[in-house]
């Protein structure tokens, strides 16, 4: 690969381009914004948050100067509250439901306030929750992403001996490896991992959980552990594996040099070793989900001259959030809607992509193609290797306790919901911990935001005026 196949920009410019899109609040800004919150009762934002954080409570604690207490409220309902503060689609969740949006179209900046409080706690190294009295039971967790981390946190709080297995070098899953760098650096996710580690949870990284150790895996850089060991060593196993590899285009030329997976591209960006990120001058990204947006915006921010987002359907069909598409538009991305890739062309290195628009076929010049067309489900791993039931879309089927068809195996996060937000996975981790505890001990615990319920109506005066 040519040495110029990387960013043409100087580091100062790149750092500028990758400045946080939602910067930290100063104390004065946080105070002003926190005071703007109306302190709604049974608040719409709390209902809208998948983890049902008591948003008015944490905001009023910022306003009262009790920032540590604020962080406790957040982490109590969402162990990855610092990550979610940065990567949550707040426009369609808490801030979308905010009554100040209804009243004056200016929702409270809940995400940034959440960041203010959680940063305060993480920066001060404050241990908010600690391991519960050991209850003699152990759980193995496969995957250290949002669902795995969340489940590990609540189980540790209940006194379980928890071991989390992670194929990658670092824990945190997509929060560590998959979020656009201008939204969040991996250090945030890693500090949340450390917080869980300090609760006594063991993280076994560089270790893939497999059905059976195979010779062909010997060349992998990571270790392997057979699933049956997890089952025999633990009272329960929680699957939080996420999704599999990026889908294939299944068109000629897909193997050419210069064709990348979006997640690989994003992961390279996240090293912040800017010159090591493969980057063409004329980049085509295929797909229109939120990952595709992360790919186009970051390719552009790294200095590609032209970045094109190509999608087989129309803009209104695009799975990415509207505000994400708007962000890409502001970054100067070109859009090719209703355009289907037919073949990638070039001699060894990509030089063009042949596309079809309706009846018309033509070539587009490009020197990099990034695929962002969704991730595969690992259905065969679940059904053939673990012997648990999946649905027609390849998602692990679970009951209300997040228990799979194998009573010892529980599942949550993308592998079970098909791929949603980190905050959704976090909630499933919480529900799984509650489910595991109920199945193993017969007792029902409740954690903050496990369910959201309107307080019962107060009794009326029996002797009315």
């Amino acid at each position: 690969m040519a040495t110029d196949y990387c960013t043409p920009l100087d580091i100062t410019q790149i750092e500028h381009n990758f400045a946080e899109i939602n910067p930290a609040m100063s104390a004065a800004e946080a105070m002003q914004e926190a005071n703007r919150c109306l302190y709604c009762y049974d608040a719409p934002c709390m209902h809208a948050c998948p983890t049902h954080i008591d948003v008015p409570a944490f905001i009023k604690k910022i306003a009262s100067g009790n920032v540590s207490g604020s962080a406790r409220v957040i982490f109590d309902a969402n162990p990855i509250g610092a990550s979610c503060a940065r990567v949550c689609p707040v426009e369609v969740l808490c801030e979308g439901a905010c009554v100040e949006k209804t009243l004056i179209n200016k929702p409270i900046e809940i995400g940034r306030l959440q960041r203010y409080a959680t940063d305060h706690a993480l920066k001060n190294g404050k241990q908010i929750f600690t391991k519960g009295e050991p209850n003699g039971k152990s759980v193995g967790i496969v995957g250290s992403g949002p669902a795995g981390l969340s489940c590990a946190t609540y189980l540790a709080r209940l006194g379980y001996d928890v071991t989390v297995y992670e194929r990658r070098e670092q824990a945190g899953g997509l929060d560590t490896y998959g979020m656009a760098e201008y939204k969040m650096s991996k250090s945030v996710s890693l500090s949340e991992v450390e917080h869980v580690e300090r609760m006594g949870v063991r993280f076994v990284t560089n270790t893939e959980v497999v059905g059976k150790t195979k010779a062909e895996f010997d060349e992998t850089p990571w270790k392997m552990i057979e699933f049956r060991h997890l089952i025999s060593e633990n009272d329960a196993v929680f699957l939080a594996t996420g999704l599999g590899a990026t889908n294939r285009l299944n068109i000629p030329g897909e193997g050419l040099d210069g064709v990348f997976d979006a997640l690989d591209f994003i992961e390279r960006v996240k090293t912040r070793d800017w010159r090591s990120v493969p980057l063409g001058r004329n980049v085509v990204v295929i797909g229109a989900g939120n990952t595709a947006i992360d790919a186009v915006t970051q390719a552009k921010r790294l200095g590609a001259d032209k970045v094109t987002l190509m999608y087989r359907r129309s803009e209104k069909d695009a799975p990415a959030y509207d505000y994400e598409i708007e962000l890409a538009r502001k970054d100067g991305i070109e859009f090719l809607w209703q355009t289907v890739p037919v073949a990638v062309g070039g001699d060894e290195r990509v030089s063009r992509i042949r596309v079809r628009q309706g009846e018309r076929e033509f070539d587009i010049e490009c020197d990099q193609v990034i695929k962002a067309i969704g991730q595969q489900k690992m259905a065969s791993f679940f059904t053939d290797v673990l012997g648990i039931e999946t649905d027609e879309k390849g998602r692990v089927v679970v009951n209300e306790n997040l228990q799979t068809s194998d009573p010892k195996i529980f599942a949550g996060g993308d592998c079970s919901n098909g791929g949603k937000e980190a905050v959704d996975a976090s909630q499933m981790g919480k529900l799984a911990a509650i489910g595991i505890h109920e199945v193993l001990t017969g007792s029902k615990v409740e954690f903050a935001g496990a369910v959201v319920r309107t307080p019962p109506k107060a009794p009326l005066d029996p002797n009315p005026h």
């Binding site: 005071n35 009762y41 049974d42 109506k457 107060a458 009326l460 005066d461 009315p464």
Partner: protein, 415 residues
């Protein structure tokens, strides 16, 4: 444009907005700048025997992001020499013959002392006196200020001393640090006062620094109670102004003071009987410039209501203040939620559940959940209406038939 000119107990000014005796009226050049900004009159920072002030001397009460909804101070009367103040007062009056320049006075409780300062001061050509019987801190420990105003006999006596030698109107400034404002007001009138002004500041401790545990304002690790003023005291001032205004035996003009920030505040004071108003804290916070909108807003208001003169609104609401026992027990209002304006913050709901009469329930409507009033439980207390952040979302609706009225006094008459 309505006529804003003011004649307060014979003291004329271009408008009813005066600066109260306080730091903004500390010296001639300040008052001259205030007049240039539009203020109609100014009560000079209280003159008296030289004093020494402490540092620091102010403390503020904030509410959320709102700074200084209340202010307190432990500053004493002027720390400038009487000669300088009197010279500047004479110059100022010469330069601004149409503006009201009032001299605030406070000396020890001796007839000679009061009469001497009165005579010396009126030689400046000032338009009137204001006797400071209200200052609650520092001076009161020396038998002055509020120590005078809290004893009606003293109030009457000192007023008489000043009136004996004064040939210009005398205003007595009353302290609110009394159980009932009418006796001191009547005492001033008995002593011959031409008018009263109220309220002076209220005894207060503003708070404690929870880190150092030193109360505010910190004077080398110690604090003393001070005089409270600003937005937060307005309701107390309005009550005292209206109490005097509706007292049958009290019939001299009232200069209203206490938490006035805007023309609207001023109008409220005037409706409840104030012939003019005095402002301090708002100017200490934002500067003399605030008078521009006070004048402009008052003008707009008077025009919109069809009043030719600001004097026409003085006392217009006094007859609407009465004792509780005279209120109509048959009048009945209920809260109603306007779903179109409701933003679903549910503050009405929780306020009523925990702070009133449990008169709200949730209902589903158009796919949303709204609070709704259970009318038979609602006592018409206004709480939900008061906490609602969305204008128009809660209305208080009259539900009685408008039949005959009956007060508690009427109901219990003959018992």
């Amino acid at each position: 444009m309505a006529d804003l000119t003011n004649n307060f107990a014979g003291i004329r000014s271009p408008n009813p907005f005066w600066l109260a005796s306080a730091p903004p009226t500390n010296m001639g050049s300040m008052i001259e700048r205030a007049f240039d900004a539009g203020w109609g009159g100014a009560v000079w920072k209280t003159l008296g025997e030289p004093i020494t002030n402490v540092s620091s001397r102010l403390a503020g009460l904030d509410h959320g992001p709102m700074r200084l909804i209340g202010l307190n101070n432990i500053e004493l009367i002027t720390d400038r020499s009487l000669e300088i103040n009197l010279r500047e007062m004479a110059e100022c009056k010469k330069k601004y013959p149409n503006h009201a320049v009032i001299a605030s006075l406070m000396v020890e409780s001796k007839k000679e002392a009061w009469q001497e300062i009165t005579k010396r001061t009126q030689d400046t050509g000032c338009d009137g006196f204001e006797l400071n019987f209200g200052c609650p801190h520092g001076m009161s420990e020396r038998g002055m200020g509020a120590a005078m105003g809290q004893v009606p006999e003293y109030t009457c006596m000192v007023t008489e001393w000043v009136k004996e030698v004064s040939n210009i109107p005398v205003i007595v400034k009353l302290t609110p640090n009394v159980t009932h404002i009418v006796p001191p007001g009547q005492a001033a009138q008995r002593g011959g006062a031409d008018a009263v002004s109220l309220i002076n500041t209220i005894n207060s401790v503003m708070g404690v620094d929870v880190d150092t545990m030193i109360p505010y304002p910190n004077v080398n690790g110690m604090a003393a109670h001070g005089g409270y003023c600003g937005t937060a005291v307005k309701p107390i001032a309005l009550n005292m102004v209206s109490e005097l205004a509706r007292d049958a035996e009290f019939n001299i003009p009232i200069s209203g003071i206490g938490g006035i920030n805007t023309w609207r505040d001023a109008v409220e004071f005037m409706l409840l009987g104030a012939g003019n108003v005095q402002v301090c804290t708002a100017v200490m916070h934002y500067g003399y410039r605030i008078v521009e909108d006070m004048i402009d807003g008052l003008n707009t208001y008077l025009d919109s209501k069809g009043f030719a003169s600001a004097n026409d609104i003085v006392g217009k609401s006094v007859h609407r203040m009465t004792d509780w026992g005279n209120l109509d027990l048959n009048y009945d209002v209920k809260a109603r939620v306007n779903e179109e304006k409701c933003i679903q913050c549910n503050l009405c709901y929780v306020a009523c559940e925990d702070g009133a009469h449990q008169s709200f329930e949730f209902v589903e409507s158009n796919g949303k959940r709204y609070p709704r009033v259970i009318e038979k439980e609602c006592v018409g207390c206004n709480l939900c209406y008061l906490v609602c952040p969305s204008p128009g979302a809660i209305e208080m609706v009259r539900v009685d038939a408008g039949g005959p009225t009956q007060s508690w006094r009427e109901r219990t008459a003959g018992n």
